[in-house]
């Protein structure tokens, strides 16, 4: 499994005596992330609604869904292609339980009932997917989850009583509360930022908590973990449930952002795009999901013009995505994060600069 690499856990074993210097050291080590956080917080002051909504907002939403895959894949060794489907389930459920343009199906519950119920159903779905595929390994997991994802796509396509078939749902408003219209660009941006940061932090935290460490043990050697006394299947299913929670929140945000959901939102292309995002970004670190999502969004937004500018057909976007994906898998299986790590390591060994 070339894609699996051990995660840096050096910050785990911090001696008690150095506790005092720990804060400054932590700041030093996470300087990049802190700068990024500050930039993202003050971004609405300088950027227009297009960048907030269509670039950064979309990046963070896709990043959350890819993050749920990164968690399963990077820490659990399970490549689940059903994460976009989990997001789609919660997206569909928010349209069914909450308001939409279809009064014959939608129940028009208030958001504070509809959203938790939608997330609950999506997490239940994700857990069932996990339970079905947790007993298998590696490529079998890909096959089963891809089959489940495609089955859900065909279900939404042909089912009219619940999923409204080919048309799906439109006009699904984000809630108004506390006197704020949460679909206005700036409030929506901060809402998305909050949830993206929360899930990023949660994944980082869990990766170092006992559960996450046990999960990484299961990834590296399930048999030995079983022998030590860990319940391997339970750990895997729990990982699926946690990943489903992140994906479900992302799914609801995605629906609110696009204002619609249709079978093609959960189609095979969408499902594969999430995998592409996670792999291109790098599945060894949570930030990879967001890097991959950013690249995808930039390509998706500007590739058309760029392709036309160099004299190619602007519709060849998928070709570009596919080629980029194959090249990354062939030459840098740990994605952009891996390239960055190698560059840093090279700079360190040759320059000899900061010995941190």
């Amino acid at each position: 499994m070339a894609l699996e690499q051990t995660i840096e856990t050096d910050s785990l074993t911090l001696p008690q005596a150095q506790q005092a210097g720990a804060v400054s050291r932590w700041v030093h080590r996470n300087a990049a992330i802190l700068i990024l956080a500050v930039l993202l917080l003050i971004l609405p002051a300088v950027a227009g609604p297009f960048i907030l909504d269509q670039i950064v907002g979309w990046t963070m939403i896709l990043g959350m869904i890819a993050l749920s895959l990164m968690f399963l894949c990077g820490y659990g060794g399970m490549v689940s292609l059903a994460q976009m489907t989990v997001a789609g389930v919660s997206g569909y459920m928010i349209a069914v339980f909450g308001p939409s343009s279809l009064p014959s199906i939608s129940l028009f519950w208030p958001w504070w009932v509809a959203a938790p119920v939608a997330i609950l159903i999506a997490v239940a779905f994700g857990t069932v997917v996990g339970a079905l595929s947790a007993r298998t390994e590696g490529i079998y997991t890909i096959m089963i989850t891809l089959a489940l994802a495609t089955a859900f796509f065909y279900l939404t396509l042909q089912n009219w009583p619940i999923f409204n078939g080919f048309n799906g749902f439109t006009t699904i408003p984000a809630p108004h509360f506390l006197g704020v219209n949460w679909r206005a660009p700036i409030p929506f941006y901060y809402m998305v930022l909050f949830f993206a940061a929360l899930s990023y932090a949660a994944v980082l935290y869990i990766s170092r908590a006992p559960f996450g460490l046990a999960l990484q043990g299961v990834r590296d050697n399930p048999r030995r973990m079983e022998a030590i006394g860990y319940n391997v299947t339970a750990h895997r299913v729990a990982a699926y449930a946690f990943a489903a929670l992140i994906a479900a929140v992302g799914g609801i945000l995605l629906v609110w952002q696009n204002n619609q959901i249709s079978p093609y939102s959960v189609g095979v292309n969408a499902v594969i795009n999430i995998l592409v995002i996670a792999v291109v970004g790098g599945i060894t670190h949570p930030i990879g999901a967001f890097i991959g999502a950013f690249i995808y969004v930039i390509l998706h937004t500007f590739a058309l013009d760029a392709l036309v500018a160099v004299g190619l057909d602007g519709r060849r976007f998928q070709l570009l995505i596919g080629l980029g994906f194959v090249i990354i898998v062939l030459f840098s299986p740990d994605g952009i994060v891996g390239i960055w790590r190698r560059l840093r390591a090279r700079a360190r060994t040759s320059g000899g600069g900061n010995p941190l």
């Binding site: 070339a2 891809l146 089959a147 089955a151 279900l155 089912n159 995998l275 592409v276 995505i321 299986p333």
Partner: protein
């Protein structure tokens, strides 16, 4: 491990003579005869061990036979609808199963031998369909289009194995990801060339139209019996799928290459260590599996139509068929294809909004009860 590798190098330099002698020692007729006898015993033992399951299967078979052959009494018609619908769905399901078998068998063969989940298999199916369409447009011969589709897809498959997968042997996950990327590229290239419109391959004149079958569809009030009429081309193609299936079984169990393939499925490293040219075998099997997918594309183009999105449909079909039937098993692919084809077609008639859920449910049940698939081995 290391000494074994040394001896394999030695064996290869040794030339083909030792290889052929060791092979002829393996595949003699008498042992085959004993094997088939043993197989009969296995069936008997299975029945003895699972009397309830055997009874259920026997009852189900008799029930289906009765439903197909007997004219339905009015009570049954009221409960589950017209007999014509049921028998049509049954026939559609079985013939669709034949098509799924053609697609899935290449998939399962490639998987069994190379541990390569070829997620570009659906793209190969679609490519074969388009090439077959082009061939019928140019030559006007429907049969010739199969040859073209087979050859084109086989070349693509060989190229994939030779240029890409050979370089990352043993890295299952990476190979799978590459096939996924290739499927994105292929599907976009095909949209580029053929556009998004559905294309139908014309059925040749000699296979046009329905033929009467000896199955009673309904009885008119006058007492006259109406026999079911069914499209000839679907019956012919189903028969061809059965012939191909039997041919493959014979090829796997009666020829030298077949013995090598079966040995490779069981233990690839051992086969390689014994000095057989595993890489050549891989390329051949990949070419054959891809070619079968291409031929299935022509079948699909004649049965239904080929268009954008059919690649993922048939990838899903192959995945589900192989998961249900058992990965790497050709009889498993046949059984799985039959089950999934039937469940899809009967589902469309009887549970319109949930027909895909039916095949998915079957898959889920199989995964829970028998994770390795119905005829799969651990």
């Amino acid at each position: 491990m290391l000494p074994a590798f040394d001896s394999s190098n030695f064996r290869r330099n040794d030339g083909g003579s030792s290889v052929s002698t060791s092979l002829s020692g393996y595949g003699g007729r008498p042992s085959e005869g004993r094997a088939s006898e043993a197989r009969g015993d296995v069936l008997g033992q299975w029945i003895a061990r699972h009397p309830v399951a055997a009874l259920v299967i026997a009852v189900a078979v008799i029930l289906v036979l009765w439903l197909v052959l007997a004219p339905w009494p009015p009570g049954v018609e009221e409960a589950i609808g017209k007999k014509r619908l049921f028998v049509n769905a049954l026939f559609n399901g079985i013939t669709l199963g034949g098509l799924y078998f053609l697609v899935a068998t290449g998939f399962t063969l490639i998987f069994g031998l190379m541990r390569n989940v070829n997620l570009a298999h659906g793209s190969l199916y679609l490519f074969g369909g388009y090439m077959g369409y082009e061939a019928t447009q140019w030559t006007g011969s429907w049969l010739f289009s199969y040859v073209i589709a087979f050859v084109c897809c086989a070349i693509v498959g060989m190229a994939m194995q030779f240029f890409i997968f050979r370089r990352m042997e043993g890295q299952d996950l990476r190979q799978t990801l590459v096939t996924l990327g290739l499927s994105i590229i292929f599907s976009d290239l095909m949209v580029w060339v053929w556009g998004g419109n559905a294309i139908q391959i014309d059925t040749p004149d000699y296979l046009q139209g329905p033929v009467p079958t000896p199955i009673i569809a309904s009885i008119r009030s006058s007492g006259e019996m109406v026999f079911l009429r069914y499209p000839l081309v679907r019956l012919v193609i189903f028969a061809a799928a059965v012939v191909i299936g039997i041919g493959m079984w014979l090829a796997l169990h009666r020829t030298r290459v077949g013995v090598m393939i079966r040995a490779g499925v069981d233990d690839r490293d051992m086969l390689s260590v014994l000095g057989y040219r595993v890489q050549l075998l891989f390329v051949l099997v990949f070419a054959f599996g891809a070619g079968l997918a291409g031929m299935a594309g022509v079948v699909g183009g004649t049965f239904q139509s080929i268009s954008l999105g059919e690649d993922s449909h048939f990838l899903l079909a192959s995945l589900v068929v192989v998961i249900v039937g058992g990965m790497g098993s050709i009889p498993g692919a046949a059984l799985g294809a039959l089950i999934i084809g039937l469940s899809e077609q009967l589902g469309i008639v009887y549970f319109q909004n949930y027909s895909t859920v039916l095949s998915f449910l079957i898959m889920a049940i199989v995964l829970v009860v028998r994770p390795q698939g119905l005829l799969g081995r651990r």
